[in-house]
């Protein structure tokens, strides 16, 4: 595969869990280029996690195809995909089991068959990246929730995966915890060029950190594009039962005063209001003149 090829290519995939009445995915297509940072948003049951589990071959498509780094997931061992796609679960306590942080983080790369010195280097680097190196020999369950979340990310990072899927990285974290984990993902994406997919309900996090957003509803992709565009696609958001950030909702309610409806941040809405007031006063002054 060449540099211009998608890293993940989902083609017309449908999937139903055994004995489920409704399919979990219906004719989903998605392309992710190397180095992209995207969010999957939508309600529980919309198909976000089912789609993400297609990326590392935990689920194989019933119809359609999934290619990861050019390889059809049905033709390649899941073990091999684990070296390409790292999957970080929602609850860090579902994946943490070791007696020290160092052992926890070493588990993945060791199982991928990496040589011991490479594992040691990856572990150091991953713990340093998430800011937990000084606690490398501590007991994981003595860490705070935000730290355990970062540890879970580190244990995926150490596998050297090109793609990181992170399921609900901010659930249960306070603002500081949210900033910690999102800044980490942002840096990992920008500085190391890794591809990141976050599954999240936290729309403010998406608006602030994630450049591309895929909105899902009832097993389908209903919007996919730059976050600003996706989070102001009101028809899609309604279908998906997703609320955009508060300022975006307020901007929409002020549309009749000429406020643009695709505002995403407080600063943007303040600027739009200022601009509007200025243009009103300028036109009033012209009338007076």
């Amino acid at each position: 595969m060449s540099a211009g090829d998608p890293l993940i290519e989902v083609e017309a995939v449908s999937y139903a869990y055994p004995e489920a009445a409704e399919p979990a995915l219906r004719d989903v297509s998605l392309r992710v280029m190397p180095g992209e940072f995207l969010a999957l948003v939508g309600q529980n049951g919309a198909g976000k996690t089912t789609l993400a589990k297609h990326f590392n071959g935990l689920i194989l498509p019933a119809r359609g195809s999934v290619r990861v780094a050019g390889q059809d997931t049905r033709a390649v061992a899941t073990r091999r995909l684990a070296g390409i796609v790292g999957y970080c679960y929602q609850n860090p306590d579902h994946q943490i089991f070791s007696r020290t942080l160092r052992r926890e983080v070493a588990f993945g790369p060791t199982n991928l068959g990496l040589p011991a010195d490479q594992v040691a280097r990856n572990v150091e680097e991953a713990l340093r990246l998430v800011g937990l190196l000084e606690k490398a020999d501590d007991y994981p369950f003595l860490l705070g929730r935000g730290e355990r979340q970062r540890l879970a990310v580190a244990s995926i990072l150490a596998m050297g995966s090109r793609i990181l899927v992170v399921d609900e990285p901010t659930t249960g974290l306070d603002l500081q915890g949210v900033r910690g984990i999102m800044t980490l993902l942002e840096r990992w994406n920008r500085e190391l060029g890794r591809t990141i997919v976050v599954i999240t309900h936290d729309i403010n996090v998406v608006a602030q950190y994630v450049p591309r957003t895929v909105v899902m509803a009832e097993g389908r992709v209903v919007a996919d594009g730059p976050t600003r565009q996706a989070l102001t696609d009101w028809a899609a958001l309604e279908m998906a039962d997703v609320k955009p950030p508060q300022v975006t909702r307020v901007a929409r309610r002020l549309a009749r005063y000429g406020i643009p409806p695709d505002v995403m941040t407080v600063d943007e809405l303040a600027a739009a209001i200022r601009a509007r007031l200025q243009s009103v006063s300028v036109s009033a002054r012209r009338e007076e003149a």
């Binding site: 915890g177 508060q246 303040a270 200022r274 009103v280």
Partner: protein
């Protein structure tokens, strides 16, 4: 804890009742509350003084590890009755000192709903789950049955009696937990981050339910919550807890003017409309009197601003 430290609110009711401006006696009164977990190296609560008026809706927010959940456990009396550790100061609920009152009697006064919807559902069916608490207090079955339909209606689950609890969504489970908590007709309901494990639909369902409780005003609500924009809509008053202390205590309209406080504690951001109005206020476009952290009110203020025609 000194039994003679503070007279209970019940004793004060008469002395406060004379003037029309007299405040109602608080249903929760904490004084000098400190607590250290058995293995802790420092006090998780470092001197909490708190009064909550009957029917009031108190929001509680602050960073992780600030002591919010510990405070809830103290108000419910689970500290000291179910936790070892060192408690200082006093908590009086409905005139009862929590240290000196047994769990059963406290259960009739204070109910609590926790973060994880899975961990607090006991019954196989919704009706069984609601009946569990009062059955344990040996209340008559007829009386128990009679209360269930009304409470299910309050939480928006009318007709769910026979539904199996494992088949419910997170938001439905959490509302069953709220209904179950209300079965003993407590005067105080404590909700400790009841929406943090839920998706936005579930969060919305729980907030609609608590809003309804607020309108009915039969129960005093204490709600720990990180969804700051929604909390600003429902709370009469919000306290910010940080480092085991109450660092701010005000109605939302006052509290969210203090942007520095929220930057300092790092636990929560301001509601976006609050941040916006403060920015416009600094430029002289709106006045302090226009300030609100609530969405509908903010839209009204901004509409007036944008409608304004220069003379």
């Amino acid at each position: 804890m000194k039994p003679d430290a503070e007279p209970g609110p019940r004793l004060e009711t008469g002395s406060h009742g004379e003037g029309p401006s007299a405040l109602p006696a608080p249903v929760i009164r904490a004084r000098g509350l400190t607590y250290r977990y058995p293995t802790g190296e420092r006090d998780v609560l470092q001197g909490i003084d708190l009064d909550v008026a009957p029917g009031e809706f108190l929001g509680v927010t602050g960073p992780s590890g600030a002591g919010k959940s510990t405070l809830c456990l103290c108000l419910k009396g689970l500290i000291p009755h179910s936790f070892a550790g060192t408690l200082g100061g006093s908590v009086i609920v409905n005139g009862l000192d929590t240290s000196a009152t047994g769990p059963a009697q406290l259960a009739e006064n204070v109910a609590m709903v926790f973060q994880d919807p899975e961990s607090q559902i006991i019954g196989l069916t919704v009706a069984e789950d609601l009946a569990f608490g009062p059955e344990n207090l040996t209340q008559p079955p007829d009386e128990i049955r009679a209360r269930i339909p009304k409470l299910l209606e309050t939480v928006g689950l009318a007709g769910f009696e026979a539904r199996e609890t494992y088949s419910l969504s997170g938001g439905q489970k959490q509302r069953v937990a709220i209904a179950a908590a209300l079965m003993l007709e407590p005067s105080i309901l404590i909700l400790d981050e009841p929406t943090s494990e839920l998706d936005p639909v579930g969060k919305g369902e729980v907030f609609r339910t608590v809003r309804r409780l607020r309108e009915e005003a039969k129960v005093t609500v204490v709600m720990v919550e990180h969804e700051i924009e929604q909390l600003a809509e429902v709370a009469d008053r919000i306290i910010v807890v940080d480092g085991g202390r109450i660092v701010a205590d005000a109605p939302p309209r006052e509290l969210f003017r203090d942007a520095d406080l929220f930057h300092r504690t790092q636990g929560e951001r301001l509601p976006q409309v609050a941040e916006l109005l403060l920015a416009l206020e600094r430029e002289g476009l709106v006045t302090p009197a226009d300030f609100t952290p609530r969405e509908d009110e903010a839209v009204a203020v901004l509409s007036r601003l944008l409608e304004r025609r220069p003379r």
